[in-house]
Subunit: 661 residues, 2 copies
């Protein structure tokens, strides 16, 4: 399995893997093709891969002999990649199948499927624990057996191993861990259809998160039986890469239209529900007047158009870095889906690891749920870690970046804590705002502190969130100076205006600013270590933004205009390496790759021996050998887990040759 990731956002990934019949892009949808009864021509849809049922072929003498003679690709007339299911579904429905695990594995290889599946035991939601544990043992044994057969017979086909475990998160985790150890190729998450059909989406979140968190990042995951496009974006954000849709045809047969907003029955439709070819050409009355077969074909085409369009929208959102914005939007179509998204808030720390630290797109606040997004969690932790001065001044929000839009007179400040004489050099100035709580003015240009938008009319969830953080955070300071507007917005009962209120003022100091941003980006006190000696700051003539920082005449770092993060120059990398201790901010590569890395070549995952657990995608990282000799520096394309886990693909874009933007 040679899965590689090209772009990531949250746990969602744009990637590709190769089968004997070509490349498969992810995220993707695999239309289900019935081996005997397919009526829809899927060739006009841009499907890389389809799924069909090996057991149905196996059971039907005619199909079986055709498939054995000419292969499954010929049988279903599709020359892209084909995944086959093993009969587990039939097992779950009828209680028994007329084939065993070894037979179906060997049969799938014999018909030249690209991805085969072992005969797992589906454990439906809300099963008993005893039954689930028993079934899991069988599933694991069959997966082991399948892997053994594949390895022994040097089979060409890729192997699915299905994660089961009903609705017990710990059993899903165990199942995922056990199967991961087998090093199979693709990990489906099974037996979740009843959860979807009964709108138990929040339990689905637990099932998926406990599974994916214990699966290798380097393998694609398939959310088995998920064919409703309404769920795709949430599932992708949780790390699912593949979906399969029998829904497109099953729903069509019942005159039902899939849409991002739910399902519509033809009988209820006065207007066609989307922009697709079918919806643009026909009216509901036209369809009702057609014969069943033609109507079914057209509705199935609509269903596929909608499903593939959603896959495209999701891919674009990953590339744009706006996947969570898409999920937040989609989750409003039904309160149970919104509930599921709220549930996902419990996994904020888990998602944070997969969230790139800087992105192209702005952070959009779409309601209370946005408060639990990893970007917010991460910033609050950074605030706690940062060095504090004696006093804290809290300002109301202005136009962003706040520090560029301060009024001439800041206004009145109340005192909280011990009233002391004002010392302007001993005050941290921060803006109180939803959702980031407090934003220090000297780092307010750094992503996402200026790159976010919230509605001006506030909700109570947002207010309470900021207020409760603020009331906790002020304990770090001796004297707190709270602007009268802030006191009003957050209903802080303060009455004592500071007698020197009128002299409180913030003036941006570029030296402080570059050091504070370096601290925010790389860790406390890095700013002082990075920028020492005679500091010279070069700004853009057009925008006035900081572009380059030189110390003693040498370029140390460049500041990226879009997110105000530093991109290191060689001198900066050397200083950073000195300033922070191993393994912080380091990626350790093996000896073999050392020469290539020194030459400025990109680092591939397979060379990575170790990695700071705090590294996220898009970080500026140091590349070292096992002795912590600095070999190079660059931009991480993956996070710590992924770099360790992948064996193919790039991990770091080497920037050692980099001098200027």
């Amino acid at each position: 399995m040679n899965f590689t990731i090209k772009s990531k956002d949250s746990r969602g990934r744009i990637g590709t893997f190769e089968t004997a019949h070509g490349f498969v892009r992810t995220p993707n949808l695999m239309p289900v093709i019935h081996p005997g009864k397919q009526t829809i021509d899927i060739s006009k849809f841009d499907a890389d891969i389809v799924i069909t049922n090996a057991y149905l072929i196996y059971k039907d003498e005619k199909l079986k002999s055709k498939a054995l003679n000419n292969g499954v690709h010929d049988l279903i007339n599709f020359d892209g990649s084909i995944m086959t299911d093993s009969g587990s579904y039939q097992l779950s429905v009828y209680g028994d199948v007329e084939v065993n695990n070894q037979e179906i594995i060997e049969f799938q290889e014999a018909i030249k499927t690209d991805i085969g599946t072992s005969l797992d035991i589906p454990t439906p939601p809300y099963s008993t624990r005893t039954k689930t544990e028993e079934d899991l043992k069988v599933t694991l044994n069959r997966a082991k057996e399948a892997k053994g057969i594949k390895d022994n017979k040097k089979m060409n086909m890729l192997l699915n191993s299905v994660v089961q475990g009903s609705t017990f998160p710990d059993l899903r985790s165990k199942s995922a861990k056990d199967l991961s150890a087998l090093n199979c190729d693709i990990y489906p998450i099974g037996a979740i259809v009843p959860l979807m059909e009964s709108y138990h989406y929040s339990d689905l979140v637990d099932v998926i998160m406990s599974s994916v968190s214990n699966l290798p990042d380097s393998k694609p995951r398939h959310l088995m039986g998920a064919g409703h496009p309404m769920l795709f974006s949430l599932a992708v954000a949780m790390g699912c890469d593949l979906f399969d849709s029998a829904a497109y045809i099953l729903y069509a047969k019942n005159d039902r239209f899939l849409t991002i907003r739910g399902t519509y029955k033809l009988g209820d439709l006065h207007e066609m529900p989307c922009s697709c070819e079918v919806c643009s050409k026909y009216t509901p009355d036209d369809l009702r007047a057609m014969d069943k077969k033609e109507r079914t074909r057209l509705i199935a085409e609509h269903n596929l158009h909608v499903s593939f369009a959603e896959i495209r929208v999701i891919r674009q959102a990953i590339i744009d870095g706006s996947l969570m914005e898409l999920v937040e939007e989609r989750s409003r179509v039904h309160p149970t889906l919104l509930n599921a998204y709220r549930k996902l808030g419990d996994y904020s720390n888990n998602l944070e690891v997969y969230e790139p630290r800087v992105k192209k797109s702005a952070f959009f606040y779409s309601g209370a749920e946005s408060l639990k997004r990893p970007e917010v969690t991460r910033h609050l932790i950074k605030l706690d870690e940062m060095n504090k001065k004696r006093d804290l001044a809290i300002l109301p929000p202005y136009k962003k970046p706040y520090s560029n839009h301060l009024p001439d007179k800041l206004g009145d400040f109340y005192v909280y804590g011990d009233e002391m004489e004002i010392d302007l050099d001993n005050i941290d100035f921060m803006v109180a705002d939803i959702p980031f709580g407090l934003v220090p003015l000297n780092i307010d240009e750094a992503y996402p502190l200026s790159q976010h938008e919230s509605p001006k009319i506030k909700d109570i969830d947002g207010i309470e969130f900021v207020k409760s953080f603020l009331l906790d955070f002020v304990w770090n300071y001796s004297q707190i100076l709270i602007h009268s507007n802030v006191a009003e917005d957050y209903q802080l009962c303060l009455y004592r205006t500071h007698p020197q209120s009128n002299i409180i003022d913030f003036k941006i100091n570029d030296h402080d600013k570059i050091k504070a941003i370096a601290d925010y980006q790389f860790g406390n006190k890095v700013g002082d270590a990075l920028f020492k000696g005679e500091i010279e700051i070069e700004k853009s003539k057009k925008t006035g933004k900081i572009r380059h920082v030189y110390c003693d005449g040498k370029l140390v770092a460049n500041m990226r205009a879009s997110d105000s993060y530093f991109v290191l120059a060689k001198k900066g990398a050397i200083r950073l390496h000195k300033a922070i201790k191993f393994p912080k901010n380091r990626v350790v590569v093996n000896a073999d790759s050392e020469p290539f890395t020194r030459e400025g070549k990109s680092v591939f995952s397979k060379f990575v021996l170790n990695c700071d657990s705090n590294i996220r995608a898009n970080d500026e990282v140091l590349i070292v050998n096992e002795n912590d000799d600095l070999l190079a520096f660059g931009k991480s394309l993956l996070n710590c887990n992924e770099m360790m886990n992948f064996n193919v693909g790039q991990a770091i874009k080497n920037r050692s040759g980099y001098l200027r933007c």
Copy 2:
């Protein structure tokens, strides 16, 4: 103008009006056709009506003579309805035009346009008040002049009168009122494009709401220059019926794609953004490789596909009664749009008048914003009005309908207020839930108290909303019994368990229930008046739900299964008429229509003389003459304002002949 409404939801309406070139459905989009340079063939889009610019035709000798000779329909090759603009846009851009108001009005009639426009003065957002007032005077005078010319010359064309007034809500209101008095045919709302371009959507809400609230309901409103489908649903929910799109082609020329989620530049696209024919057939790379002309044509087609699809989705939502759910979903695409929707919460009382009391679809809670929806406001007012017993027992929510899913043992109750001996007959039992605050158990099957869904994981906005209502509402009672789960959910600091806590129990009493529902539906004490004598209740054998209520052997009312509202029988109507005083629940019709009404014919708006201001669409109403003699009874299809305002179309579906469901 013969505008009629077929279906309504919030302020949105599905309607039709007729021009000399056929019927126009609403809501609708009018693609802008450039009279000289049109390159896109719009015939494949289902456009009822297009808009073109009379001034551009007037100024171009060739176009002018063609249009005067063969008519504008021949000129732009469109045989549906055509609206023409007057040159106001050019006036706003260039400061002057080479035509006066009378000339352009007469020219529009001469080229046989279906809907013409007077030469109004666009007052852009954030103008000075003085300037706006001056311009408004000119606009009003020109509208008057145009109407005079039209009436004098008995012109065939319909007449637009544009509401102006910059961002001053009171001036918008005045402009709307003044123009309404002229009885023109269609009311555009003008000069709002800069608000949309600068994302000032919340000001747009004020502008639209202050305009539509002062325009006649019986005339279509056109949101002039609004061509981005992202905004359509919100605008329709505020009462806009027509949009025009030059955006489809202007954006296409800049390689920009309109979508419901915003605008995408081709340069940023890795995947095509929708399910339309263009997006399904081509990739962004395909488009980038094309010549400009072909690419522009395809992107324009995509833009029209998306825009018309959104119009269809909106129409379906109005019919389904789920327009606000659609708006809440769409408003999540950008925080400024969410802000606008939050702003609309200020107009909840205004929207309530237009909100049908019962609908087909369930109420979905999508976040804090849903708390301001008219359904919630309306229920809380009803709660305040209802008769109260001595005690109030507050229960936690169960599966809906709550009263059907109570546990055998209710659990522990804390006392709040004066502890007294439990008298089960003297307790109002209510469930505390988001968003409806408190739901009395004996009416909990009535719409929307069971027909709503909220996420199980609560937000603070919802909790605080219910809590604050509850803390206020309990003052109506002497003793309040609060279930321990409620105390916990809403963090009520209560410690005293009622000593008789264990005997507190709710048993449904059908007689109480039908009376309570009648009170909820028709007003206090109506239940007692409607259901007296020997009451016999017939239930559905299948569902156990109440279907018919007889008193002394005669059918009084039927209960509708879907929403548990009563549909009156003749005896019920007579009793209701006696029980509540004029003009409550009445529609007064004129003498001419009396015989038809008595015969059971539907009531048309033009016959309506008066109407209880509390009547909403879908209410069961009494039809009386000026002496308050009961003529008939039926279901209102419009609300009070609309019945009074319309001169064509049905107002009430007569149910006098109605006996059983």
